[in-house]
Symmetry: C2
Subunit: 376 residues, 2 copies
């Protein structure tokens, strides 16, 4: 804070104040003092760190809001302030103790995640204040970057929030997970679980573009309605009100299932396994129904179905396709421009709501891509 | 039967008799009559048909020995008599009611299976009496074939029984299931379940030829000893005397598991899933531990491991590689000739022992390829 310190209620500060931390700002606001938060002078950062590892579904208490100073920029760096931060199911894996594909978040460590941020100060010739960037910044308000591998976003192409969704990791996950892992052919039946989710809603549309019959599984009548109406799914059902998934799949997939894009796992996936066609391809993208289990849930052993159908089940991570992101984004942008790709954002307002927004994913709250709006 | 009929104990037939059926032969033998079974004149066939569908592990009573007349040969056909018949775990799937990759055997229908047979009579210019052929003839003594797709065997290349093993479906299953599905690279760790079985013992040797580290899992100390000594496995363990498969795999696979060739399924496969490396490939060839379950056994849901490791699990059937059998057999024969490939046959004598020999597979009786010797 610039100004007199310390102060007290008996001796309140007067005039314009530039605060270093939100805590300072709040103490000033108590005194009905007009506060101007100057982004450039801001030297404190709000962050969500991992307070404890969740047992089961994460709770807000697993996360702790902390303030940390923002270091001085060095030459070549820029400082950016979050506009949108992403919450995604995969983050559950990063805060668990179990082995995962990436180093987990340590207790006290910053939560990971993608973000769209606006440059507020720059000592990097390639980035100027005002530029909007796509940066894997984690759950924090400010990030300092050396600019390496950072993508500038052009708001005239699409709303910049789409860099977290259809024109970002989500869209690319749908794109490569469907096309590269499953190679769907025209006329084939593609079943998608979590079909109204961020990835699933895009998968169905790409499958349609490729000439497939698409069948979506989602958890809610509103979700089913949306994917049928806006995402062009040929058929869909609400698993929460369907008793026999197998019978329903048989009804909706009269020619069997050639491709399965799995975001969910569990009993839904069991039912799909029993209906796959010869040479079926299953892209295992997510297992949201399983992420909160401390120990693997028990289910029927179904590997034998892979033999019967000569099918494959393949996991993938979008980061493995980094060298091909350009190709994917070009296709996705093209389809978006041509009106072939619809997307829906589920915006939660306020940095402080990040944990709540994240936890809601496991209750199926979102339709489309859930994003937290942090600033402008 | 050629001769006087009917006959009775009071009026026994005399002279040389050529019997049409084994039953006739037996009634003659009762009378101490010398019987010459003329292969050419033989017009009865012994067959095992499915008497009932097994519940759980098959029992001998699920099979019934019947005699059927052998029809007259038409032009272009030949008649061959079984020398060796194959018993294989996959046959369990064919006699179950559950959906499988091939039409099941109906009640009363001939059991399916491969065989090596000697031509006894021919009206096909390409096959002469005495020729030995590889023919998918089922559990019967005689087969009539039009010769299409029938491979003649050359006893000078290898014992003809190998056409049911290392130089037949078994070897080809190992070859394509390992090389085509998993593409193992030098230095990678290849784990094989059912490693002392017909397929598994070959898989380990091919993996060694390809420069991999091989770790076998088998059900018996004698089996472990054999695969270490003769099949060149780098390490192996007896799952029947090992409590913690996971710990043992960790010990024997210090660099993790890159390739898994699964013949067994169940808890062994669970343990492997937990140790796979990034981009691991798992060839699901068999699930012998599961074949006798009426309903899928419950086990931990492990598809999430495929995501973490970006791994694939892929089922396959050797019949899908038919167009490439020549390539596979050429390689396998070459390795056999060069002494790089050892094989072991587990010969059960006698046509009537087919059901028993088959059932024994599910008790892990065999080391190497189990074959039933029927005739010369």
């Amino acid at each position: 804070m610039v100004g007199r310190t310390p102060w007290s209620a008996a001796d309140p500060p007067i005039g314009l104040f530039t605060c270093r931390t939100a805590m300072e700002r709040d103490s000033l606001l108590v005194h009905n003092i007009t506060v101007i938060m100057s982004p450039i002078a801001t030297t404190a950062n709000r962050q969500f760190v991992l307070a404890s590892r969740p047992a089961g579904v994460p709770e807000e208490s697993n996360f702790k809001l902390v303030e940390t100073p923002i270091p001085e920029l060095k030459d070549g760096e820029f400082l950016a302030r979050a506009m949108y931060l992403s919450v995604d199911p995969y983050m559950r894996g990063r805060i668990s103790q179990a082995k995962s594909y990436a180093a987990g978040v340590e207790i006290g460590g910053l939560m990971v995640g993608g973000g769209v941020a606006r440059v507020v100060e720059s000592k990097n010739a390639k980035f100027a204040a005002g530029d909007i960037v796509d940066v894997y910044m984690g759950w924090q308000e400010y990030v300092i970057s050396n600019g390496k591998g950072i993508r500038k976003l052009d708001p005239s192409v699409a709303p910049v929030s789409t860099a977290l969704g259809v024109l970002g990791g989500t869209g690319l996950t749908a794109y490569f997970g469907l096309l590269d892992v499953c190679n769907p052919k025209p006329g084939e039946t593609v079943v998608v679980s979590g079909a109204a989710g961020a990835v699933g809603s895009i998968v169905g549309q790409i499958a349609k573009i490729k000439g497939c019959r698409t069948v979506g599984i989602a958890g809610g009548d509103d979700k089913v309605e949306w994917i049928l109406k806006d995402c062009g799914y040929d058929a869909a059902f609400n698993y929460k009100t369907t008793e026999d998934y197998g019978a329903k799949l048989k009804e909706l997939c009269p020619n069997g299932i050639d491709v399965y894009f799995d975001n969910v796992g569990g009993t839904i996936t069991d039912a799909v396994f029993m209906q796959i066609n010869t040479f079926a391809r299953m892209s295992i993208c997510g297992q949201i129904s399983q992420y909160n289990n401390a120990k693997p849930e028990m289910g029927p052993r179904l590997l034998g179905m892979l033999i019967i159908a000569r099918a494959k089940a393949q996991g993938f991570l979008i980061t493995d396709y980094m060298a091909r992101f350009g190709e994917g984004l070009a296709e996705l942008s093209g389809w978006l421009r041509e009106g072939k790709l619809k997307y829906r954002e589920d915006i939660v307002e306020g940095f402080e709501n990040l944990p709540k927004a994240f936890i809601g994913l496991f209750h199926g709250e979102n339709i489309g891509k859930r994003i937290v709006k942090v600033g402008d």
